[in-house]
């Protein structure tokens, strides 16, 4: 068996330019497929962090753009299983010049004390925690954001509102570390409420809830929604992860879009590699005749040609995946501004295995028909074949 393998391998070297071109074309396509699958995986199947599994987000049933009365918070607090609760209001607004993408970051109005409990994985020195709770105009920023925009404790941040008709003059009182809250700023909701006209003070767009245990989360979510089912407005309670996805679904059917592009890419590689393998087999029909005269069986010839295709597919896939792992980092950097989940995008082991399997399937399928045709050609016909 081993000697046939070496023959198959040598066959890939006989027309080096063609093999190189096929491998490049495979590599480029699989690189793309790898990145797309990585994006898909990161968006729809990312693992929850322990903190995120404990959190629920409550919003207006129809849309996150609509608001709920602030009184809902005290009602939700009575639901068994709810450990802590805080308003969680997207402020929007403008920081300096919004045309520069680095100035676009998330800003939320929260209730500092419960907020610090709800973010179970948040790390921040105790004095900074205390300052956030007590200083009404204080705000805290995530470490990556502080680094990007060079924020230091004591700095002033000026936010001009768009959704809220106010201008906030905030003071950085803390810099925190939290795997689930990258690129965000949090400020005291009380400051915002007092600056708002009376009619808009007691409203919230989203409310964050911390539950006792991850297993309990679905039950609590249902209990909250049932509680407000007949109220105006009714609510929708989702896990933190579902909430982000429902936000994304606004952009359209992203899932379908990604899957159809993946299918188009796979189909194209299949055509391309099928075409090349067919060309190289056709060129060699006479040689197949010689091999048969020497006593090689049809199955052996079939196997050898398939093996050769698999070798090419595998080399292409490996190169493609190496390229993809580099490209994924770049795509993650650009994409995280639009879709938060793309932060730290990388090829997971599952993605890598999936791409390798796809590559091998492509090698197998694309070589099967030409190999089968070659293997069953009659010896005399093949020896007579002039190419």
């Amino acid at each position: 068996m081993f000697r046939y393998f070496s023959l198959a391998f040598r066959n890939t070297l006989r027309n080096r330019r063609r093999s190189a071109l096929t491998i490049s074309s495979m590599a480029v396509s699989l690189c793309l497929l790898g990145v797309l699958i990585a994006i898909y995986h990161a968006m729809f199947y990312a693992d929850q962090t322990p903190g995120s599994a404990l959190r629920l987000v409550v919003r207006h049933k129809v849309s996150i753009a609509l608001v709920m009365p602030d009184a809902y918070i005290e009602k939700i607090r009575t639901v068994p299983g709810v450990k802590e609760i805080s308003p969680w209001n997207w402020f929007g607004g403008t920081y300096k010049d919004s045309r520069e993408t680095k100035n676009l970051f998330a800003r939320f109005g929260v209730d500092p004390k419960p907020f610090l409990t709800i973010r179970t994985q948040l790390e921040m020195p105790n004095d900074q925690r205390a300052a956030f709770i007590h200083d009404q105009t204080g705000c805290v920023v995530s470490d990556d954001l502080a680094k990007k925009l060079n924020f230091k404790v004591g700095d002033r941040i000026h936010l001009v509102g768009d959704i809220y008709p106010v201008t906030l003059d905030l003071k950085v009182v803390g810099i925190f570390k939290d795997p689930d809250a990258k690129g965000s700023l949090f400020f005291n909701m009380k400051y915002l409420r007092e600056a708002l006209p009376k009619s808009r003070q007691a409203l919230d767009s989203t409310i964050a809830v911390l539950v006792d245990s991850p297993e309990d989360a679905p039950r609590v979510a249902k209990a909250i929604d049932d509680m407000f089912a007949e109220s105006n407005p009714p609510t929708k309670t989702e896990s933190e992860q579902e909430f982000v996805l429902s936000f994304l679904s606004l952009l359209g059917n992203v899932k379908l879009f990604l899957l159809s592009i993946c299918a188009a890419v796979t189909f194209t590689i299949l055509l391309v590699s099928g075409n090349t393998i067919a060309m190289s087999v056709r060129e060699r029909i006479r040689e197949v005749g010689v091999l048969k005269t020497l006593g090689f069986t049809n199955d052996l010839i079939l196997g050898m040609i398939i093996l050769e295709a698999l070798t090419i597919a595998l080399i292409g896939a490996v190169i493609g995946l190496v390229l993809a792992s580099v490209l994924a980092v770049g795509v993650g950097k650009v994409g995280e501004n639009v879709v938060g989940q793309l932060h730290n995008l990388s090829l997971t082991p599952i993605t890598t295995v999936l791409c390798l399997v796809i590559a091998l399937m492509i090698g197998l399928i694309s070589s099967f028909i030409p190999a089968w045709n070659a293997a069953r050609t009659n010896i005399l016909d093949s020896l007579r074949y002039s190419g």
Partner: protein
Amino acid sequence: MAIPISYNVRNLIVRKTTTIMTAIGIAMTVAVLLAVLGLVSGLRTAFAATGDPLHVLILRKGGNAELTSIMTPANFQIIKSFPGIATGPDGQPMASMEMVTVINLPATDNPEGSNITLRAISQRGMAMRKVKVTEGRLFTGAAREVVIGKNIAKRYPAAQLGKSLRFGKGYWKIVGVMDAGDSAVNSEIWGDAAQVAGDFNRSEAYSSALVQATDEVTAAALIKSFSADRRLNVDAMSESDYYTAQTGSANPVQFLGFFVCIIMAIGSAFAAMNTMYAAVARRAKEVGTLRVLGFTKGSILFSFFLESMLLSLIGGILACVLVLPLNSITTSMGSFTTFSETTFNFHVGPDVMAVGIVFSLILGALGGFLPARQAAKKEILTALREV
């Protein structure tokens, strides 16, 4: 002297399997590009058709979307009194105060339902827009009635003439279907201003005001004077600009689409190169013969180059044929400005197709140049001696 094109055409026909496979590979790449361009172009058509350059939209200062803006009846009275606003047949100013919110409609392809813009509008506002009621009749201010855009009627089984929708404080009867050409209004639901605003407790807080200027110069002047008025504290903009800006919601899709196309294009160019190298190798003797007959190196280079372009042109045309059926597909896309879905048709027009053809020719040129050069560089004697 140039080698006749029929020589290339015949060569492509002789190797029809390879030709078709390579052409389909190119076609897939171009088709992905065309589908993305068709989507963006469709969205652009819908939004471009919505705004009227004579219309001036007035929002609360900083509120960059109708959904988050607030317009009080007191402010609207001031707005109506500005000079330069066109007057209707009844001598009253062409100005409309409107309330915009989102409601949720059950959708067949989305279990969560889709969010739709609901607009509370006066008879005056209806008259200002070029909207025809094609089925049923207009709502009356006396009853809980609404009219729906024709795209809503097409897409949501729950929203049909004669049926009732539940939102606000109860049920609303659908009494008409409106047709607004290609405009995004086709994706909205309209009801009587006072009725709907009352139902959402927003009789004192509408969303926006729309006025019609007498001419475009006046429109520009009105925008300036509204925005500068300190009593009002509003931002005014041309209605066309407001809707054009919303095309931005297609940016992430467009970005992803172009990213995929460029990578796929590299893969397809390698594949085309492979095919053309094979063609050159196969016809070595022919190339020698052509040279003996007196064709220059240049004309051989040109001939093979042309063949590659022809091959990719077939791919390009194939791609156009492939994506043409998309024109009859209605899709929808949400936006972070309206927080609701706009339904529109893919729009693969001549402009989009022209881009596709040019793109395929570029692919052909990239794939064909090196093989063609190799063919041209062949020495006559060695070429003739090749098997």
